[in-house]
Symmetry: C2
Subunit: 409 residues, 2 copies
Amino acid sequence: MINENNNISYGNKDKKNNTQIINQNFIDNKNINFTVTPWEVKGDIDYNKLIEKFGTFEITTNIIEQFKKITGEIHPFLKNKYFFSHRDLDWILKEYQNGNKFYLYTGRGPSGLIHLGHLMPWLFTKYIQDKFNVKLLFQLTDDEKFLFNDKNDLEMIDIFTYENVLDIIAIGFDSAKTNIIIDTKHINYLYPISLEIAKRITFSTAKSVFGFSNSSNIGMIGFPPIQSAPCFLPSVIEKKPTPVLIPAAIDQDPYWRITRDIAEKIGYYKPAQIHSKFIPGLINNGKMSSSKPDSALFTKDDPELIEKKVKNTFTGGQPTVSLQRKLGGNADICPVYWYLKYLFDNEEESIQRYNNCKGGSLLCGDCKNDLIKDVKPFIKDIQRKREKAKDMIKEFMIDGKDLGHKDKK
Amino acid sequence: MINENNNISYGNKDKKNNTQIINQNFIDNKNINFTVTPWEVKGDIDYNKLIEKFGTFEITTNIIEQFKKITGEIHPFLKNKYFFSHRDLDWILKEYQNGNKFYLYTGRGPSGLIHLGHLMPWLFTKYIQDKFNVKLLFQLTDDEKFLFNDKNDLEMIDIFTYENVLDIIAIGFDSAKTNIIIDTKHINYLYPISLEIAKRITFSTAKSVFGFSNSSNIGMIGFPPIQSAPCFLPSVIEKKPTPVLIPAAIDQDPYWRITRDIAEKIGYYKPAQIHSKFIPGLINNGKMSSSKPDSALFTKDDPELIEKKVKNTFTGGQPTVSLQRKLGGNADICPVYWYLKYLFDNEEESIQRYNNCKGGSLLCGDCKNDLIKDVKPFIKDIQRKREKAKDMIKEFMIDGKDLGHKDKK
């Protein structure tokens, strides 16, 4: 079906040979003290330096204007730069305007329950699906989560996969335009494509991009093409080369980098990407982590627990009220401020909150109360939708079949 | 389903740590001048040295007697040592006698058409299926043939897969007790098991056993667990640890070696093996190769072509009739003698043929005529059965579905 000589060329060139060695850990560099890989995010992330290191492109005001021409508005996640970086997004938008519709593709590694940090790129993905009227592939990489962590067994991951599927459906994606792919269950949709990809990536390349070593298991080494395959599945489904746009946090970029490098060789478009930042947990800095349960607000948490977690969280405020009044707080490092900004405050409210915090007129307790007031009904609404989702699973699965799970609640 | 603590121990221990470095090419060793890997067989193979190098076990007269107790006879392939080596065959027979039935598992890499050399282990596999009344998994590793050869594309391999399936069915396996697995089509049956295997094999081990390097593609590195998975699929199907016996040429041993090393760690029996020798092509020495079309007798060859090929073939005879009469021939290196011995002559006829050749009273033309007389109706019969096989495909496939191939004849 795929013509190997069909060399498609378009859009932005990649800034460098993607397969060159990428530092796995930027901490060695004296100007950079953070780590961003598909398996680890830590440190104080400088997103401008990340764009430079990964060789991606900033989302410029020009691109945001291109969006506005189609959607009639500017989504807050673009305005507030939660989505900040891209590859070929301008090309995707131009193709769309010329009538060449893209597929969305995003994913989730089901190693735990879903928290607010996970939902943010999904909310944006739903927004794009609605505004552009496009199809979505949503991949759950249960195989990856099994292979990359000694402690994970398939039975445990299976439970999280089921729970995560309920959250995905609860977000409100259009079942007629969304296919969920669970790797261990729907591998037959991906495997032939993954072979075409795997054949064109040497161990040497995979080692450079992902940091594999002699002690890596061969499942890890063989895995990346399984995550690449949905980039090309739309072309197989539509029986013609079909553009794909991937909304995801920027830590997944290494996967798309190697995928882009081989795409044209096998007659497909390079997948375009739109990269989000990470949102910190409520206690620790860094990406909100589902492996540190106390640090995150989970969609399955009881509203009372949510309230307790927010009240106990780390903020950017001063140790005492009088110091806060005198010195002001630091909203830039405050997850309570960030959650309000990204999920609940409008632009004006957020600016006012930032200034009042800095000026010392706003106390941490005030912001925490605001967040509790907003987040409790938000989570309750998701919980209602998760219940309904239990009867909608087969409408979303790529094979049209149910998962056969009993409710684990 | 599988209990990780269920440590099963039994039968022969492996002679050495299977994962130690195995010479990929024995030619470096001054006493050994042959190569045997899953991808290459060349040189003058000394099967006793192969047993020593691979750490397998000779099939002793004791084991042959164990067979006879069950089957009431000694199969010619055991008597004439076409099957010459094993791992845990004695254990498999003992378990069988105690009521613990095994599954057979064998396979084929569908990179070309089927010739007589391929049929021999299949004929023995069918014999075991009939005599022991056991189930068989037959795997077609179309993915392997794609990944390990730059020239192969999936479309071409798909055609050979279809043709090979017809040959497998033509052999006469019992459809009620046989499941054919084509990797790219039935990967969903293998993938979850293959992950359990892949997680327990490091790149370091795979490099030692298979000779992978930095320039190996990551599909090759990720492949071995896909060939290992059918060793454990019977345990999943039967919902209890189930012994497996693999009849196959000894070049496949590295796959089973790594599989045996991890089997008990994940609660399965180590797969047992019975290894065959290679049968030379009709022109070249070494394994009959489907990539050298002139050298082999294919099941799709017209009977006239078969006759022509046999007449033109290399033999162990002398250059002239008078020299043959004077010096005698060398049956040990003669593929015409071998094919008659392994497929058509009975024991007595074969000994007589050997002695008459050595003594100079039998000429190459005589043996060639004998082979032509036997092989033409043999191949015609297979061709009749291949035609019937076209309507039987779905009875054999593990998913019960047809392959949807038009006849490519």
